[in-house]
């Protein structure tokens, strides 16, 4: 495999906290630390998967990049510009370069708007296409690209199936010629046979258009098939990052290992997933002290609740946030 290309987008120290408001005066009574110091790099034309359980903050990372929610701190570098430092007005061109596709296409499409207009809306906002006729021509082309019937562009969203609606959302994102597509559980609600169609489509689009993907998902089967690199998130932080095959073969962080051990296989000779760790994910409003995984970690020792481990290189281009991995990787003196 070729070396990972330089990143199209780099995230440093991203922090997005949400206030918990209480009482009549809506005073802030604490913070939900949804994203709490995240570093990421998305290679140009490649796929980074961001994985983790519900509530780990992975979707908030995606929304923070586009400033659909406002982060408190950190930097998001794109083309040498820090998107978080830009005034709202100057953000406009970057909203074109980075597009997002959500899990539920029906919730993302206006039921009263013909799909042609839904797809053309973004083009108009960014001045793409000479006039309405030209934009209609482009919508037809986009429909062909996502393998929908171009003669159906004047229909309404409810006239399409779930898989077709997700294709419409992808066409709408592509309409403004983005360079990075954030897919937030974009195939999670689809049946297996339809999911395969959409994954193949995303793969073809990446090859033909050189798109980079940030693929946010809880589905590790999809990740292994699709992603070049994987970042594993736990209570607002990245706990492990690395090249996909390597991370699946040799997971270093105890959380990643537990997560992988819990995925059921469809091979009848392989049965018996393990619930290696018990309990539930801690609330991001009250993250545990020290290493956030120490309350559930089978390998925790006295240092873990007291100190916070850093995301440190593990060799092989990966990184892990664990004292045990850090000790094993440290150069001998």
């Amino acid at each position: 495999m070729s070396a990972t290309p330089s990143p199209i987008l780099r995230v440093e120290g991203l922090r997005t906290w949400f206030p918990i408001r209480k009482g009549l005066l809506r005073r802030s009574a604490g913070w939900v630390r949804a994203v709490d110091g995240v570093d990421l790099a998305i290679p140009a034309g490649r796929t980074l998967a961001l994985v983790g359980e519900s509530g780990c903050g992975k979707s908030t990372v995606g929304r923070s990049l586009l400033r659909l929610v406002e982060p408190q701190a950190g930097r998001v570098w794109f083309d040498g510009v820090d998107l978080l430092a830009l005034p709202e007005r100057e953000l406009h061109p970057y909203r074109r370069a980075i597009q997002i596709v959500f899990q539920d296409p029906l919730a993302s499409l206006d039921p009263r708007m013909r799909v042609r207009d839904a797809v053309a809306e973004g083009m108009q906002a960014f001045g793409i296409g000479a006039d309405e006729t030209d934009r209609t021509r482009r919508v037809r082309e986009l429909f062909e690209r996502v393998r929908l019937d171009p003669d159906q562009i004047w229909r309404y969203p409810h006239e399409f199936s779930g898989g077709q609606r997700q294709r419409i959302c992808i066409a709408r994102a592509l309409a403004v010629e983005p360079r990075l597509l954030v897919c937030d559980e974009a195939t999670s609600a689809l049946d297996v046979s339809i999911q395969a169609q959409i994954l193949n489509l995303l793969r073809d689009l990446q090859r033909d258009l050189g798109l980079a993907y940030l693929f946010i998902t809880h589905d590790l089967g999809v990740v292994r098939y699709l992603a070049d690199r994987v970042a594993v998130m736990y209570v607002g932080q990245i706990v492990e990052e690395g090249e996909t095959e390597r991370l699946f073969r040799e997971p270093r962080h105890p959380y990643t290992r537990a997560l992988l051990a819990a995925i059921p296989s469809v091979d009848p000779a392989r049965r018996g997933v393990q619930a290696r760790i018990g309990g539930d994910v801690p609330s991001p409003a009250r993250p545990p002290s020290g290493c956030r995984f120490h309350t559930r970690c089978p390998e925790a020792f006295e240092r873990c609740p007291r100190e916070e481990p850093l995301l440190a290189p593990t060799g092989g281009g990966g990184a892990s946030r664990c004292f045990l991995v850090e000790a094993a990787a440290a150069p001998r003196r």
Partner: protein, 326 residues
């Protein structure tokens, strides 16, 4: 051999649309023996959940069971009077659903909901019912069970709510547990815990389980036998090893090949072209013909009968039948 806990034959369940009746389940039959886990597998709209609801006579109106028979613990379910049917639910068979939040009353403490279920069926004191509820919570490994019984649903995580649902389903020691996508809303780690729990139930109490799911991984973890449904019909059935290891129906094969975990990086996933037809578009003959790579002219004429591969493995497909004959 003793009678199976559940025996479904030629089940047809229909829903009206525009003055016409459309079958959503069309001639489904299978057995579940004591201590056995049988999985009904298929994609959205294949009729697997409606089959489960038909067994408990919970099909939402105006849908109705139009034909067939359901024998549950020796009772002919479809001809029971309403009050007898109410006793069957809970004590002979209980059901858990995908979304525990919609099955629990949000303003009643979870323990009180289980107590209510027990006292509806049995004449026991409130104190006794509460004691049993705490024991049930402990048996489904809810931590701090004696305190958790006084929680409201919103105070519990998704995994704990599903455990409460399982505890409630077990309250009357049913012979059959119908689990409709029991882990679909849960993260993999919590899913693994719930799968452990269901396995334990089967092993320790001998509860038969009818597992309804679209997730072949979950099926592989739990099922002894598998019935694959497509457009209201069972198209393949066999043991777990037979269906997942040697799938014979083009749909089962396509479904397994489309799993990303079966795909190779850098290569296209196998697709099943097109979409599942809606009940009013079901063709005459085999419902899979419009998406099938091995379709024959005769597929449009009649639904093929079963082609047996072993005493436990059978497939309903003309192309497979012809191949077997040759």
């Amino acid at each position: 051999m003793s009678e199976p806990v559940l025996s479904v034959r030629d089940l047809v369940t229909s829903f009206p649309q525009d003055g016409e009746l459309f079958p959503v389940v069309s001639g489904v039959g299978f057995d579940v023996a004591a201590g056995e886990v049988v999985a009904l597998v298929g994609e959205s709209g294949c009729g697997k959940s409606v089959t489960a609801l038909s067994i408990l006579r919970l099909v939402p109106r105006p849908g109705r069971v139009a034909a067939g028979s359901v024998r549950l613990c020796g009772k002919d379910v479809l001809s029971l009077p309403v009050d007898a049917m109410r006793r069957v639910r809970g004590s002979d068979a209980a059901m858990i659903f995908q979304e525990p939040m919609t099955s629990l009353n949000p303003v009643v403490r979870v323990g009180a909901q289980v107590v209510e279920a027990i006292r509806l069926h049995e004449r026991v004191s409130a104190a006794e019912a509460r004691r049993r509820t705490i024991a049930l919570f402990e048996s489904v490994r809810i931590p701090d069970a004696s305190e958790r019984v006084d929680s409201y649903p919103h105070q519990l995580s998704g995994g704990l709510k599903q455990r409460v649902m399982i505890a409630m389903a077990l309250a009357l020691r049913p012979k059959l547990l119908i689990a409709d996508e029991p882990t679909t809303a849960l993260d993999v780690m919590i899913q693994a815990q719930i799968l452990d729990l269901l396995r334990e139930l089967r092993d320790q109490l001998g509860t038969a389980i009818l597992l309804i799911t679209h997730d072949l991984g979950v099926v592989n973890e739990l099922a002894d036998r598998i019935a694959v449904m497509y457009a209201g019909r069972i198209v393949e059935e066999g043991t777990r090893e037979e269906v997942l290891g040697r799938p014979a129906h083009p749909y089962t094969q396509g479904l397994l090949a489309a799993m990303p975990s079966r795909g190779r990086r850098g290569e296209r996933l196998a697709e099943i072209a097109g979409v599942v037809p809606s009940p009013r578009e079901w063709p005459r003959g085999c419902p899979f013909q419009s998406r099938c790579a091995r379709v024959l002219p005769a597929c449009a004429e009649a639904m093929p009968g079963p082609t047996p591969f072993s005493p436990t493995h059978a497939v309903r497909c003309l192309a497979v039948a012809e191949e077997a004959r040759a």
